[in-house]
Amino acid sequence: MSSLSLDRVDWAPHAAPTDLILKQVSLAVHPGEFVGVIGPNGSGKTSSLCCAFRYHRPLAGTVSLAAQDIWQQPGHWHARHAAVVLQEFPEDFGLSVREVVDMGRTPHKSLFQGDSAEDIAIVSQALEQVGLLSRQHHPFETLSGGEKQRALLARALAQQPSLLILDEPTNHLDLRHQLELLRLVRRLGISTVATLHDLNLAAAFCDRLYVLQRGRIVADGSPAEVLTADLLDRVFGVRALVDAHPIAGHPRITLITQEQDHEA
């Protein structure tokens, strides 16, 4: 039973399916896996993720969490299984870090139900996991970019999900924070699907990769199977050398930055 599966999903922003943005997209995340989705800008990575948490409704195909079709379940069901970290920050209404993380308890609560001691403990633990417990009462707005990203991850953890959905989680982070965040996610061991721009990070952290190009999955498999010089040329339009990372052994991509004419 996979944690998440998209099965031949078509999607377009308007109901007229003339120019589909996702075409027959199928992908699966198995329990405990870290799956990466890569592809050029505008290839449909974010749109695919949006199908997984009911933000986009597919025109065709099915989306399942824990083997249940999310559209056959009540409106908040999916939120008890999958949590997201997007490129979307809370509005500046003076929320404290803790208030932002508190939001993660929303799907587990009914109308009028207050925070139990358990909720408070879960939120504290999530803050602890991302190293922000000591800053929980600070205004969210005063955090640095890396801390904000970690606070959003803490919110996702407070949801106690069986699947994490991350959209470019390393965006805006410096090198150390990129590694720390991805290491943290790996350490948690929760099934994860993440879109990543940095292919070397994708190679280092992902168990499997899916490659999107113009709304279609054009390749999938282990980083070593997927990240070939040929694919990088075809999909990303860049020339690169691919060899093995000298320490970890996963593929290492070295971009060839000189213009082609000059080289010959």
């Binding site: 308007h14 109901a15 949006c50 948490f53 009911r54 933000y55 409106g75 908040h76 069901w77 999916h78 939120a79 008890r80 999958a82 949590a83 997201v84 997007l86 979307e88 920050f89 809370p90 509005e91 209404f93 003076g94 929320l95 404290s96 803790r98 208030e99 932002v100 508190d102 939001m103 993660g104 929303t106 799907p107 609560k109 109308l111 009028f112 139900q113 207050g114 602890e128 190293g131 417990l133 000591s134 800053r135 009462h137 600070h138 205004p139 005063t142 919110r155 949801q159 959905i165």
Partner: protein, 355 residues
């Protein structure tokens, strides 16, 4: 983790929010009660506080006084019991309602400048009121004007919703823009009607638009009280969802919130509440805009705390502004909306200058 234990000041302020909330609410409730009790004793006709309370206790059946031997005149009795007390209570209801609506609309539009009068409802009510004042007169008795105003409010709300909804999604910006656009359009029609109509009616229209609690009578109170109660319960019940909305549209969806449905629900509740309040008391400005900001300073942004605090502060605020409105140049009633706008504007300037 304990390295950065030396928290800075804003952190301390935030730390106390959850813990201090019961104390803050208790303080506000006490302040509201005291405000009501003092406000019934204040007005153009002097009635001592002791006598005012005597009249209240007498009518509430809490004091068994020999009716021949009361310390007050029948005229004072009428003023305090028939006019002033309901007026103070109405002030509290309207102030609480507007503040509650303001805080909720600021959440669903994700805009800190949203207020009950921004989204077309008040303009619709004004349109209805002007139609009555200029053309029809009180064709169905003294409730004609409030009824017409409420009908106008509902019509406006329906138009805003029709304009804002697209593909069954209700986007924050579209809601705001639709509200503002409809508001201006309806206001233009209302002004045209006023211009074409009998010019003598203009002053009563202006007076109505500036807002006032002078209509307050006992028989007028149950409806706003009921609407406020229902609105309060539903909105506070939705408090956690409103919090999640602060996360942004996509994240809120991922948190299991049906964003468009939530926006629609809150917009309809807010419109109904505003419609009722405006129908009875005109468009009293600034309460709905300003009070939530003040409340946030005390209790933070969690709507489960913000909404009750806003309601209480709004009630206290309007009760006192109305005391000023009926006392400053007695026996004239200054429209209470003038007072709220003047104080509100001044407050904002102070806030921006010195905080």
């Amino acid at each position: 983790m304990s390295a950065s234990r030396s928290a800075i000041l804003p952190a301390d302020a935030a730390r106390s929010r959850r813990d201090a909330f019961p104390l803050i609410i208790a303080t506000l409730l006490a302040a509201l009660l005291v405000s009501i009790l003092i406000a019934v004793g204040l007005g153009p006709v002097p009635v001592s506080l002791a006598n005012s309370w005597g009249i209240l206790l007498h009518h509430l059946g809490l004091a068994h006084a020999d009716s021949a031997n009361l310390g007050w005149s029948p005229g004072q009795d009428v003023i305090v019991w028939q006019l002033r007390f309901p007026r103070v209570l109405l002030g509290g209801l309207v102030g609480a309602g507007l503040a509650l609506v303001g805080a909720s609309l600021q959440a669903v539009t994700l805009n800190k400048l949203a207020d009950p009068h921004l989204l077309g409802v008040s303009s619709g009510a004004t349109f209805g009121a002007i139609a009555v004042i200029v053309f029809t007169g009180n064709v169905v008795g003294s409730l004609t004007l409030p009824l017409a105003a409420f009908a106008g409010a509902l019509a406006s709300m329906a138009i805003v919703m029709t304009v804002a909804l697209r593909q069954r999604r209700l986007n924050a910006d579209r809601l705001l823009l639709a509200g503002v656009a409809v508001s201006f359009f309806v206001m233009a029609m209302a002004n045209l009607m006023l211009y074409l109509g009998d010019h003598r009616s203009a002053s009563s229209v202006v007076f109505w638009m500036l807002g006032g609690l002078g209509l307050a009578r006992w028989n007028l109170l149950p409806i706003p009280a009921l609407v406020l109660l229902i609105g309060f319960v539903v909105l506070v019940g939705l408090g956690r969802s409103l919090n999640a909305l602060m996360a942004g549209e996509q994240t809120a969806t991922a948190l299991g919130i049906r964003v468009s449905a939530l926006r629609l629900t809150v917009f309809v509740i807010a419109s109904l509440m505003t419609g009722v309040m405006v129908a009875i008391s005109g468009s009293i400005g600034f309460v709905g805009l300003m009070i939530p900001h003040i409340a946030r300073q005390f209790v933070g942004t969690d709507h489960r705390r913000l909404l009750p605090a806003s309601g209480l502060i709004g009630a206290i605020f309007l009760i006192w502004v109305d005391v000023a409105a009926r006392s400053l140049i007695a026996p004239e009633d200054i429209p209470v909306g003038v007072g709220t706008a003047a104080i509100g504007g001044g407050f904002f300037i102070w806030l921006m200058r010195y905080r």
